[in-house]
């Protein structure tokens, strides 16, 4: 399997993205902001197709658009009651624009599939370097804000009183999420970002109550999903993104069943 350059590149890209998606996704689930993550990926669709239309690499458009949208969602804050409606409207508006850009771009079929469902097997060396640099930026940023991020996520009113700026933390975090979403979209496509960013994290949070263990477990599960999916795709010739979603779903629902089984200690 590793005799092929494209498989080596795909494993490297999958590894980088799993690391980022697992870690960032854990906090996304912890903060209950998975819908924002989902919306960001759709905004990325407009970005990627728009970039292709004007002759730029799709990843540039993805990162640019998701970053802007992430900062925007962070600035709205979560005290606005209609926040989810606003996010949902931006989401569908972005998909509409994406469709328009594809309409103008004549040979759109394969490009659209790649953006929507990912094309990890086509990742080349230059893209790999970009993914690595963005991934390092993401993880570095997450490490820098993790202490106030955890405080603000677990007890926002106390964090505010103790001097944490909830808005600054929210905006920085969603900027990091935006980059992680753009990275994940490169592997599994904008429609399936949930599978890498939310599946492993949600499963990890069902398996442990410790934050540190949870982040590690989330990264580990994301790696299993990504590399397992690539391996299965190589031997079956079915799409990689399908296998990644299948593994992610399998792990998530297995942990969900475990969590509801009578083995779990009952509430005292």
């Amino acid at each position: 399997m590793f005799d092929y350059d494209f498989m080596v590149n795909a494993f490297a890209a999958g590894g980088i993205v799993a690391l980022v998606a697992g870690a960032v996704g854990f906090f996304l689930v912890l903060r209950g902001q998975t819908f924002a993550g989902h919306a960001l990926s759709h905004v990325g669709f407009a970005g990627a197709t728009g970039a292709v239309l004007i002759g730029l690499p799709p990843l540039a458009g993805l990162v640019g658009f998701t970053l802007l949208a992430g900062i925007g969602i962070g600035l709205i804050g979560d005290r606005i009651s209609s926040r989810d409606v606003v996010i949902g409207m931006v989401l569908s508006l972005s998909l509409g624009f994406g469709l328009l850009f594809l309409h103008f771009y004549t040979s759109y079929a394969s490009q659209a599939t790649a953006v929507l469902f990912g094309n990890v097997l086509a990742v080349g060396r230059p893209t790999l370097w970009t993914l690595g640099a963005l991934g390092a930026l993401c993880l570095g940023g997450l490490a820098a804000i993790s202490r106030p991020l955890i405080f603000a996520s677990l007890q926002p009113e106390l964090a505010e009183a103790k001097g944490v700026s909830l808005k600054v933390v929210a905006v920085l975090f969603l900027a990091i999420v935006a980059i992680a979403v753009a990275e994940s979209a490169q592997i599994v496509g904008v429609l399936l970002v949930f599978t890498l960013m939310v599946g492993p994290s949600a499963a990890a949070q069902r398996l442990t109550t410790r934050l540190s263990v949870g982040v590690a477990l989330s990264v580990l599960l994301a790696l299993v999903d990504a590399w397992g999916g690539l391996t299965l795709a190589f031997y079956t010739d079915w799409p990689t993104s399908f296998w990644i979603t299948a593994l992610s779903g399998l792990v998530y629902f297995a942990t969900a069943l475990m969590a509801t089984s009578p083995i779990r200690p009952a509430r005292p």
């Binding site: 209950g32 490490a143 405080f151 103790k162 109550t209």
Partner: protein, 280 residues
């Protein structure tokens, strides 16, 4: 030196005046119950003391210094609305998140921080809750963790916002006794807000009663009286003492009891008449 000094303080939220021209002083080590109906400004006052809610007039000083956000001398337990109260987060992580939680960087907890968290958990008798998930805990256990969070960083002033809400009478008494003991042992000043005065009667040094944008402070007998509360609310208020319990009535309604029912269970106004006849 006073622990809290409010000098002619006015606070408005969203164009509505919550407190106007309120003055009072609280001495170090006092256990003060903050009473008043819903929307009377109990939470807003605490947020103003924390420097989170801006005042529109007057000055608040905490241990002689003007209020500022992030004052390490103050511990705070907000009304139990943490977004993760139903999450699978361990008690330890929940409390440890407060230790220097405002600093940037990775959340590695050093020995001093770990000792601080252990101490806070120990004070509220929650050492055995450290490994359990918050979602699996009872209301009383969660409340103990919220108070442990407030104790992290060794504050000298505790602001506890409605710690009795949605607890049954037995657990209410346990929380009150625990807070009073911690306050006495560590010589903390405690502001403890509640809907109802009765559970707190044995523990309080003084009462701060908020109503009609005004405040009255003093002993229970001084403040919870018909004339004082009538002046606060600018309405006819009657105070009835029965078997060691106190009922605050307005035109036949039990004010405190109504407020409590209303908030905890979302009962509508029609349900109120019956409560005035609730005997202890």
């Amino acid at each position: 030196m006073t622990a809290i000094a409010c000098d002619r303080v006015s606070i408005g939220v969203g164009g509505r005046t919550i407190l106007s021209d309120v003055s009072f002083a609280i001495a170090p080590g006092e256990f003060v119950g903050v009473l008043g109906a819903n929307g009377s400004g109990k939470t807003t006052l605490m947020r103003a003391i924390l420097g989170v809610a801006p005042t529109s007039g007057g000055a608040i000083r905490v241990f002689g210094e003007p209020v500022r956000r992030g004052n390490p001398a103050i511990g705070y337990a907000p009304q139990g609305r943490s977004p993760v109260l139903h999450g699978r987060i361990s008690g330890w992580d929940f409390v440890a998140s407060v230790a220097n939680g405002h600093r940037w960087g990775l959340p590695w907890r050093g020995p001093a921080e770990r000792a601080d968290v252990e101490r806070a958990l120990h004070l509220v008798g929650a050492a055995e809750l450290a490994r359990r998930a918050i979602a699996d805990m009872s209301g009383g256990e969660r409340q103990r963790l919220l108070i442990a969070q407030a104790l992290v960083g060794s504050p000298r002033l505790l602001l506890l916002d409605e710690p009795l809400i949605s607890l049954d009478p037995r657990h209410q008494q346990a929380v009150i006794d625990m807070v009073r003991d911690i306050g006495r042992t560590l010589r903390l000043t405690v502001l403890f807000s509640a809907h109802e005065i009765n559970p707190l009667l044995g523990a309080l040094d003084r009462v701060l009663y908020l109503g009609g944008t005004h405040a009255a402070i003093g002993s229970v007998d001084e403040v919870i009286s018909g004339p004082v509360l009538s002046r606060l609310y600018d309405a006819e208020i009657e105070v009835i003492r029965l078997h060691g319990r106190i009922f605050v009535m307005s035109a036949g309604h039990d004010l405190e009891h109504d407020a409590h029912r209303h908030d905890a269970h979302g009962h509508d106004a029609h349900a109120h008449d019956a409560h005035a006849h609730d005997a202890p």
